[in-house]
Structure formats: structure tokens, C-alpha cells
């Protein structure tokens, strides 16, 4: 019950956002600087269709049909907004993606095991009806209305085309899997009062499932929607309780931490001596370590060594050496949520001549002597120097160019020694928890949100923030 009260207490934190699409469009041309988080008052969310992110699509296909769609082909990379690849406004279906959805849907529909939805013989005309109803409820996350049922039955018969009924049924499933009712999560709602809409039971089940598990609802959750249980406080509390204890929560929070720290880039960054196998091992390793800590807080992750995790240090760095600038930017932008502007144009940004008699730090320190550089780099380099003992693979090094290493630095004036020192400082900095909460809300809601400075909350806390109302 404490979980429910937390949920209700935190409800309705969503913020007003410019709904004017022309303004949103500008986002694709901006510099990626995050929205101002202080100035947005709470307001209902917009009525919208959220196209499944590629992550959600893969999870849904895996849960429905026990397939890894990556085996059948790739999905065109989506636009990123503020560094997030699941921005509801930006996710659209273009020609390339529509064709990929088509070929994946055909491949899965023609080979999937349909026995969970069909326990009868298709020779029996009632069997086709029942199977279509059952399949559509799972795939579309809601029951069909009579008109839809008729149309899909007609389609299944039309698609038989001289083949077996099973063939027609499978091609109808290919249509279900390319349908907007599958590819978009409806958050349209039904009118409650004067221009305010609330999600219906099925939309609620879908919102709960994607928010807490990152995937499509299971049968139990759909049953809860069907019986109206999500409309009562007790029923909702019961369902939340069940969902939060499911191991899918841990995998979902690990996805969230990966998105927060941009760990997806680990698959493609160019680092000297980094093999394909090592990439996979690093990614699996950090996932395992994060997944074991999903009951903790962001500070707990830092205290446990997240900052010196070789996966994090390999992701953020340079092909050879330490990369204090890249790692400083990572701390400033990702852990503190303080975005930096790109280097201004028109100034000479040529790198200093490589001097093998100097350490990386000594060379990067030339930023400090040039006011044009120092304006930004004083917020970057003193953080990045914490990692000077770690090379491009996050391996410890005693020397840099044969010289002793200085890994002291300061966080906005507070001095620290090395990565461990920085981790402890960050762990007690209120900006860390606030930044995590802001990131989590952004990721879960698919849109910019406001976040007031908060006491640090557990990683799980944002999953419990529920809001059903729309305008």
C-alpha cells in the first residue's frame, strides 16, 4: 500500500509543453540543449499516439511470439531528441521503416507458434472467429469491436487465396502486426469533463505495462483491464504490487540506465584493441552489475563503482588514451544534466601539437590558458581528469607517456582525488538524483518534463508515477 500512496502522491507531475508542432519541428534543428526544466507548471499530458520505440517493439514481439526480431532484420534508427530515441513527437513511420515493419511482420506471422491463441480446428468456422479475437486482443492490447472483427475475418478469408485457412490466418496476423493499433500506443482517452480526457481501461493497462516493464501487457494485466479492476484504487494497487515484483522491472530499469549513460554507443565506438567479443562482454557485464542494484539509488550505483566501469569508460573516451574532455562532458551532461554548448565557430580549435614529453593532462590544460576555451572547458576538464588512470578500454594505467599521472580535479570548486573521489562527491550531490529523475521521466513519458530538485529517490521511483488525464 505504501507503493500506491507514493504513486498517487507523485501523480500529475507532468508539465505543460508547447503542443504547436511547428515549434517541435525546430527541435530537429537545435543543438540538443535540454529544455529549461524550471519553468514548466504541472498540466495534463496531450492526447497522443506513441509509436512503439524500437526497444518496445522488440520486447513486444519477444513477449508475444518468443522471437528475437533482430534475427530477421534491422530497424531504421529513429531521430533522437535531447539524446533520447523514444521521443513521442519525433517517432514516425517513414518509407524505410514501413518496409522493415512489413518484412518483420511477414517473417514472424508465417513462422510463429499460434497455439497459445488457437485450441481448435480451423475447419470449424467458430474457431477462426475465436482465434482472431484472441490474437487481436494480445497484439492490439485491447478487444476488437464488432466492425473490426468482421473486417479482419473477411481479410483472413480473402488472404487464404486458395491456400489453407491457416495460411489466411497467418497473413491476417501479418496485417495485425503492421496495424497502427499495434505500432502505436494509444493515449487518446475518453472525454471525462470539459476538454479533459482520461485513459480508458485498455489504454491504462498499456501505459502501466510499458512504463513499468517496457513491454506489452501480459494476459493477467489485460484481464484486470477487462474486469474494470484498474478503475478502483484497490485493484490498481494490487496490479502495481504484482507488476513491481516481476523481474521485468529490473531489465527495464537496466534499459533506462543504459539510455541515461548512452551505453548503446558501446556497440559501435572505435577504440584501439577493442574486439567485437569484448564489446558484447562489456555490455553484458555492466547490465548484470546494474541489474543487481535496481533496488538502490543512483548514488548507490556510483558508490559501487559505476564511474570506473570499463563499459562506461570505453563508451566515453577516445580511440587511444584517456579522453578527459569526453569523460568530463559525460559527467557534466549525463550525470548532472547540465548541457554544454558545442564549441563556438570561428575560433581556432586546432589541437595542440602532440608532444610526447607531456601527459594528456598537461596538453589538455592548455584550454585553461585561453579564455575562449576556458569559458566552457573549466566546467569539463577538471571533471574528466578524474579518469586519467584509465585508458580507452577502462584499463588501469600507472603512467601516461611514461610520466606520473595527476588525477586530481574539482567539482565546481570542491577538490577531489581520482575517480573514486569524484564518485563520492557526486553521490552526495543533490544534482545527481534530480538528474536521474529528470532523465527517467523524459524516457518514460517520451517528452520533456519538469523536475524540481528532489531528495534522492530509488531507481524504481519514477516507475510508480501514474497520470491518466489528458487534455
Amino acid at each position: 500500500m505504501t507503493r500506491l500512496s507514493a504513486a498517487l502522491a507523485l501523480a500529475a507531475l507532468a508539465c505543460a509543453e508547447v503542443a504547436d508542432p511547428s515549434e517541435r519541428q525546430q527541435d530537429t534543428f537545435d543543438t540538443g540543449v535540454m529544455d529549461d526544466i524550471e519553468s514548466c507548471p504541472p498540466a495534463p499530458l496531450p492526447r497522443r499516439l506513441r509509436r512503439l520505440s524500437h526497444r518496445e517493439y522488440r520486447h513486444a514481439m519477444a513477449d508475444l511470439f518468443d522471437v528475437d526480431v533482430a534475427m530477421y532484420g534491422s530497424l531504421a534508427a529513429d531521430p533522437t531528441v535531447d539524446g533520447f530515441d523514444n521521443d513521442a513527437e519525433a517517432l514516425r513511420v517513414g518509407a524505410l521503416l514501413a518496409d522493415q515493419y512489413r518484412s518483420l511482420a511477414e517473417a514472424v506471422a508465417l513462422s510463429a507458434d499460434l497455439s497459445p491463441w488457437r485450441d481448435c480446428s480451423l475447419e470449424d468456422p467458430d474457431c477462426l472467429d475465436a482465434t482472431i479475437s484472441a490474437l487481436a486482443r494480445s497484439v492490439w492490447r485491447r478487444p476488437l469491436n464488432a466492425e473490426e472483427h468482421d473486417e479482419l475475418t473477411t481479410l483472413a478469408v480473402e488472404l487464404t487465396l486458395g491456400g489453407t485457412r491457416e495460411h489466411g490466418l497467418r497473413w491476417m496476423l501479418a496485417a495485425l502486426l503492421q496495424s497502427p493499433h499495434f505500432l502505436y500506443r494509444s493515449e487518446v482517452g475518453i472525454e471525462d469533463s470539459d476538454g479533459i480526457y482520461i485513459l480508458d481501461d485498455w489504454e491504462k493497462a498499456t501505459a502501466l505495462s510499458f512504463q513499468i516493464w517496457g513491454t506489452t501487457p501480459d494476459e493477467a494485466l489485460l484481464d484486470a483491464a477487462a474486469t474494470g479492476r484498474l478503475r478502483t484504487d484497490d485493484g490498481l494497487a494490487q496490479e502495481l504490487e504484482r507488476m513491481l515484483e516481476d523481474p521485468r522491472v529490473d531489465a527495464h530499469l537496466t534499459d533506462l540506465v543504459e539510455a541515461w549513460l548512452h551505453l548503446g554507443q558501446l556497440d559501435t565506438v572505435s577504440r584501439i584493441d577493442l574486439t567485437q567479443e569484448a564489446r558484447a562482454d562489456l555490455r553484458a557485464g555492466i547490465r548484470e552489475r546494474v541489474q543487481a542494484m535496481t533496488d538502490g539509488t543512483p548514488s548507490d550505483l556510483l558508490r559501487a563503482g559505476l564511474l570506473v566501469d570499463p563499459a562506461l569508460l570505453t563508451t566515453h573516451g577516445v580511440p587511444e588514451g584517456s579522453g578527459p574532455v569526453q569523460r568530463g562532458v559525460m559527467v557534466r551532461e549525463l550525470l548532472l544534466c547540465e548541457p554544454l554548448p558545442p564549441p563556438p565557430s570561428g575560433i581556432d580549435t586546432s589541437a595542440p601539437e602532440v608532444d610526447p614529453s607531456q601527459t594528456t593532462r598537461q596538453q589538455v590544460d592548455q584550454h585553461a590558458s585561453d579564455p575562449a576555451c576556458a569559458a566552457c572547458h573549466e566546467h569539463i576538464d577538471p571533471l574528466g581528469f578524474a579518469f586519467e588512470h584509465y585508458d580507452q578500454l577502462g584499463h588501469w594505467r600507472d603512467h601516461d607517456h611514461g610520466l606520473p599521472i595527476d588525477d586530481s580535479g574539482h567539482l565546481d570548486g570542491t577538490p577531489f582525488e581520482g575517480a573514486q573521489g569524484l564518485a563520492l562527491l557526486l553521490a552526495s550531490d543533490p544534482r545527481l538524483g534530480t538528474c536521474y529523475l529528470q532523465t527517467a521521466r523524459r524516457w518514460l513519458r517520451g517528452r520533456p518534463t519538469c523536475t524540481e530538485t528532489t531528495p534522492e529517490l530509488p531507481l524504481q521511483a519514477p516507475l510508480r508515477e501514474l497520470d491518466w488525464s489528458r487534455q
Partner: protein
């Protein structure tokens, strides 16, 4: 911006359902349509002008310079010196402004709309490792009504879109039924939605229409060997991926699958490390090499020469094929633009952006001094050369540049 969307939303379902396959044949050209094709190539992170600039006005290439790998095609090149961007500045602004000149539709997509209506693919936008950072202002150069066009980074997938379909009438019928059904669903779902969400579904309808054309359209293409044996997402396989994408683009242009192809090699701030040249620094880092650091400068020049050689590969491929309609070299019937997003990479400015044009019946073999001109004027000129009626481009107001004709 909304005109096409609006048009399609009115007629969407009918268009998707209509059997427009019969229209999908390369049309006889009207007298004023030169029937040219377009190939846009991109490589990132500006240049070092003193290592790039060829001799002119009759082209010559100093030994070791960036464009020297194109020397064999000197007669086919039109090298633009001193070109500035209309608006863009810095990596991000340069990438966004390069082909749009501040408008909401990029040059390649604008031309595709005009020339591609009756082809299987209005355009093919191919990429080489463009998407590791997702789609954003650094990683995309093609735009349509303000939305990014995602490049297909997977040569095998491109190949299967071009050649992968077997002839199977019942498969075609089933796919048509499914597409018709989806168009009806999308149309029905639009009712009662807020305007912005209806526009999202209109885009989706547009996309289904493109899928239908690609599936059921006809062209004169016969399959090449499918590209295999490399991982298009692996840094070290960048060269194989480049070669495969360039070859596929040329094949598609040659056999009439599309009149417009783009091959975007990486993206601005590219981290690609040319390990195959022995490099240990990423391309963006090298682009900031200090003038007094000869080893790093040499590595950057090497990297740029490598990109020039890729452009050379495209020109070789186009020169080796014959346009079936005119009997000319395909290169003479294909306008090639090698675009970059920055001038001097160290200064992060979009001044003196080193663009190279080739083929397409332009008056080539020259270095042209464009000081004072902006890229919208070049794009206007190219649009007109391709038979379009534009008198300006993007947010620019400049007319065509006579010096390019």
C-alpha cells in the same frame, strides 16, 4: 509544407488502394525534361584548404593533395572554390543547412519529388555508419517537410529492397490486400484525433504508398551479387560498406529503380577511425590537427584522399555504364554532387566549403571561383539543370549561377 500531406490525406486511402502499378514505367521524357539522374555523395568534417585546392581554372592536382585521387576524372569535374553556406555555421548548422539552405526539404528530396514520381523508389538514401548516434542534426542530411529521412545503412537490406522479391502472383495479391486493409485502418483511426496526431498517420499512409510502389513497381534491374562478408556497423568494415553502397546506388540509377540516389559516408563530427590506413585517431580529431603537427596533418590528408577515392569509385562506375536511352556514358546522364558540411574543420565555419560537381552534362574540367556565392545558388542552378523550374532554393533568394553552366 503541408501541401503534399493535405493532398494525400484527402485521397490517401484511394491512392494506396488504386492499382497504380500500370503507371510505374519510366516515362518518355517531355522535350524540356533532360532526363538526368542525380547522385549526392557526402563526407564529413570539412577540409584543409591548402591541401585541397587544385590548380585552375584548368584543373590540375598537386602531388599528394586531397583531390589527386580524382585526377583520372579531371575532365568530368567542376570544382567549386570559395563557396559559403547561406545560414549554417559550425558542425550542426552546417550539416542541417548543407542541402536544405534553411528550408524544410533537402535538395536530394526536392529533386526526387520532381523526378521520381513514377519510379519504384522516388529516391534511395543510403548511408555508411550514419546511425550509431541515432538520427539527429549531426547525423542526417536529407529532410522532407522538416522530417529527417533515415538512410539505409545496411547494404544487404538495400540489395533485398532492390532485387530480393521473387515473382509470385499470390504473394503480391496478399500483400496488396494487407496494404489496402492498413490504409483503411489508418484512415479510420484518424477520426477524432488531434490534428498533430492525424498528421502522423498521414505520414504513415505516405510511407505505405512508398512500400507499395517499391514492391509492385517495375524496372529494368537484374540482381547483382548480394553484398556479404562484412559487418556494416563495424568501424573496420567501413571501406567494404562504402563500396557496396556506392555500387548499389549506381546500379539502381543505371537500371531505372530511382532517378535520385544519395550515399552519406558517416556524418559530421564523424568518429570513424581509418584503421585500414593505420590511423589511431578518429576522423573528427584528425580534422583538428595543428598546422605545425605534420604527422596529424598528413593523416587527415590521407583520410580525405581516401574519401576522394570513394568518389572516384562512383565516377568510375558511372563512366563504365551506358545509358540505354541515349547511348551516352551514364556519367554524362548523371549529375554528381560531392558535398561537405564545413569549410575549414578547425575553424568550424561554413566558408569555402569544398564542393565538387561531376558529370551530368555540365561544362566540366574547371575550377570555378565562387567567392561571394552561397550554396542555395548552386542548388538552384542544379535544379534548373535537372529540368526543375526553381528560381531560388531553401531560404535563399539567389538565382542560378551562370558561371556553372
Amino acid at each position: 509544407m503541408l501541401s503534399r500531406r493535405t493532398l494525400f490525406s484527402r485521397t490517401g486511402a484511394a491512392l494506396v488502394a488504386a492499382p497504380f502499378c500500370s503507371l510505374l514505367r519510366r516515362p518518355a521524357h517531355a522535350d524540356d525534361d533532360p532526363g538526368l539522374r542525380l547522385l549526392v555523395l557526402f563526407s564529413p568534417n570539412g577540409t584543409f584548404h591548402d591541401h585541397w585546392r587544385p590548380g585552375g581554372p584548368e584543373l590540375s592536382f598537386p602531388a599528394g593533395s586531397i583531390l589527386e585521387p580524382l585526377a583520372a576524372h579531371a575532365d568530368d569535374l567542376l570544382v567549386l572554390d570559395g563557396l559559403d553556406f547561406l545560414l549554417g555555421d559550425n558542425h550542426e548548422g552546417g550539416m542541417a543547412d548543407m542541402l536544405t539552405a534553411g528550408g524544410d526539404t533537402s535538395f536530394d528530396q526536392h529533386v526526387a519529388r520532381a523526378l521520381g514520381a513514377e519510379h519504384r523508389f522516388e529516391s534511395l538514401v543510403l548511408g555508411v555508419q550514419t546511425s550509431a548516434w541515432g538520427g539527429n542534426v549531426q547525423t542526417r542530411m536529407s529532410y522532407r517537410d522538416g522530417a529527417m529521412v533515415t538512410p539505409d545503412d545496411d547494404p544487404l537490406h538495400v540489395w533485398s529492397r532492390l532485387f530480393g522479391e521473387v515473382e509470385d502472383p499470390s504473394l503480391d495479391l496478399r500483400r496488396r490486400s494487407v496494404l489496402d486493409h492498413l490504409a483503411r485502418e489508418l484512415d479510420g483511426l484518424k477520426r477524432g484525433l488531434p490534428v498533430a496526431e492525424r498528421a502522423r498517420l498521414d505520414d504513415h499512409l505516405d510511407a505505405l504508398r512508398d512500400v507499395e510502389r517499391a514492391l509492385f513497381g517495375t524496372d529494368a534491374c537484374s540482381p547483382t551479387l548480394s553484398p556479404a562478408g562484412f559487418d556494416p556497423w563495424n568501424n573496420d568494415h567501413f571501406p567494404d560498406t562504402c563500396a557496396a553502397q556506392i555500387d548499389l546506388a549506381i546500379t539502381a540509377l543505371a537500371c531505372g529503380s530511382t532517378p535520385v540516389a544519395a550515399v552519406q559516408m558517416s556524418h559530421t563530427v564523424s568518429p570513424v577511425t581509418m584503421t585500414w590506413l593505420g590511423h589511431t585517431q578518429g576522423h573528427h580529431t584528425l580534422s583538428h590537427a595543428n598546422t605545425h603537427d605534420p604527422l596529424s596533418v598528413e593523416a587527415f590528408v590521407q583520410a580525405e584522399r581516401w574519401f576522394a577515392a570513394q568518389v572516384g569509385r562512383a565516377l568510375d562506375g558511372l563512366a563504365a555504364r551506358i545509358d540505354p536511352e541515349t547511348g551516352q556514358r551514364l556519367l554524362d546522364r548523371t549529375l554528381v554532387l560531392w558535398a561537405k558540411e564545413l569549410g575549414d574543420g578547425r575553424a568550424h565555419t561554413c566558408e569555402g566549403v569544398p564542393w565538387v560537381l561531376a558529370g551530368g552534362g555540365l561544362s566540366t574540367g574547371r575550377l570555378v571561383d565562387l567567392v561571394g556565392a552561397t550554396q542555395d545558388a548552386v542548388l538552384t542552378t542544379l535544379c534548373q539543370h535537372l529540368g526543375l523550374e526553381d528560381t531560388r532554393f531553401g531560404r535563399g533568394t539567389a538565382g542560378a549561377l551562370e558561371v556553372l553552366r
